[in-house]
């Protein structure tokens, strides 16, 4: 028998990122658990509704010890969504999945969790207001992908603006001998006389925009062009620069 697909719509799979709390236990585990109890006593509800990842990279334990440890955490209402840095021999069926490729994101301030504990109460009591659910506070964690830097004055010779988290916008000129390095695109609302490097952390979609092109060097995703290699008819014009394959392309913007 063959399966007949009744619905022609395919399932769309989307990505979503949450800021997870990472626990890095140290040996001996019973003493570490005591310290965890201590922390939990000081800020009640800290782990409630938060995605928690267990980092066992530097932990020399076997499968059985890990299983017991997870049980101890479960007793304390700490639910682990994934295990990082584990050898496959350590993971038994039924344990949380192994995670890879996590990016570090600063320390989580334990003192700031008080509102979470407070926010839980109205949700449990009468109102039933969705906004006060503890889940909402987790989503408020900063999303690094959407950052931008705006500079409202000219970038002077000898200065360098380095911002790998996103776009850089300069309301003014970039002087000869100055440089702007952005993880995203570079926008210059003035004359670009210095160096501009966009997509510096490996973003080939990044672009460079300027009101007047007189740049010493432009680069996108590590591919660069010197002033001499730029088409002369674009000099002094409003220009955008982007990447096509491995080639830098520049064109006028009107």
């Amino acid at each position: 028998m063959t399966k007949v697909q009744t619905d022609s719509r395919s399932i769309r799979i989307k990505g979503r990122s949450f800021l997870a709390v990472v626990l890095t236990p140290e040996l001996p585990l019973d003493q570490w658990l005591e310290r965890l109890d201590d922390l939990a006593a000081r800020s009640a509800g800290f782990f409630l509704g938060r995605p928690v990842v267990l980092d066992v990279t530097d932990l020399q334990i076997d499968r059985q010890q890990l299983g017991e440890f997870l049980a101890h955490l479960a007793e304390r209402n700490v639910r682990i969504m994934g295990i990082e840095g584990a050898r496959h021999s350590m993971i038994a069926p039924g344990m949380p999945p192994v995670l890879k490729g996590g990016r570090p994101a600063g320390d989580v301030d334990v003192a700031s969790v008080e509102p979470v504990a407070i926010a839980v109460q109205p949700a449990v009591s009468d109102s039933g207001d969705l906004q006060t659910e503890p889940q909402a506070t987790v989503l408020q964690a900063p999303r690094s992908a959407l950052q931008s830097l705006v500079i409202n004055e000219p970038v002077r010779s000898g200065q360098s603006i380095i911002f790998t988290e996103g776009d850089v916008t300069i309301v003014g000129s970039v002087a000869s001998g100055a440089e702007v390095i952005a993880g995203g695109s570079v926008h210059v609302y003035g004359t670009l006389r210095g160096r501009a490097m966009a997509g510096s952390v490996g973003n080939s979609q990044a672009r460079i925009f300027c009101r007047k092109l007189e740049a010493e060097l432009i680069a996108i995703d590590g591919i660069y062009k010197m002033a001499e290699d730029l088409p002369t008819d674009l000099l002094g014009q409003p220009v955008q620069v982007w990447l096509e394959g491995d080639a830098i392309v520049a064109g006028k913007v009107n």
Binding site: E153, S157, S173
Partner: protein, 271 residues
Amino acid sequence: MGKVIVVTSGKGGVGKTTSTAALGAALAQRNEKVVVVDFDVGLRNLDLVMGAERRVVYDLVNVIQGDAKLTQALIRDKRIENLFLLPASQTRDKDNLTPEGVEWVINELKRYFDWVICDSPAGIERGATLAMRHADVAVVVTNPEVSSVRDSDRIIGLLDSKTVKAERGERMEKHLLLTRFDQNRAARGDMLKVEDVLEILSIPLLGIIPESMDVLKASNIGAPVTIADAKSAPAQAYFEAARRLAGEDIPVTMPEEKRGLFGKIFSRRAA
């Protein structure tokens, strides 16, 4: 409390010392108490331009090291009685200037004078950064040529980051003084135009000082051009700049186009 002005440029030979002396003398002729301070330790020149080189007994480094009182080191100008000079040391090293010492001297001078004008050494090292450190206003001296403009741009960046005002999050007031400007050469394209320099540096224009033999003559007789020949074109431009520094809102006079001898004869004949 007086205002502290730093006259700076990054590049050497653009006219910092000449401008310090000329602006100082121009402000003093407005009946305000002025002191010009030479920060160029080891390569002092301001005493020569002020015509006080034979009257230097103590200097800035002596005051900072406690060998002399501030009043002993100050030299009163012989022509204008409310104009003073605090000379730099010619024999010592720049390292003798300490940040605490400079701060103390500037604060003392601010109590007694309306204007404290600091003549910065060229470069971006210790001497230059200490000279600008406690300033309220900066006069950026620039010649209309690319290397001077780029160095000025660098100095403006430092003024916005390395000064006490900048560190407090306040804005440093900056003015552009365009010196050695030759209208004929700018028209021919041998020099940057005023608009080009203003566009690159984007700070307000304090004045345009025409290139002139009068400046050199004044320096050689040991007098600021605003004392030696107050009627000359550069002196008039400095007087105008001083009025603007004092807060007057007056339009900047463009230097007139100078015709050569033949041009003059020719134009007369044609008229």
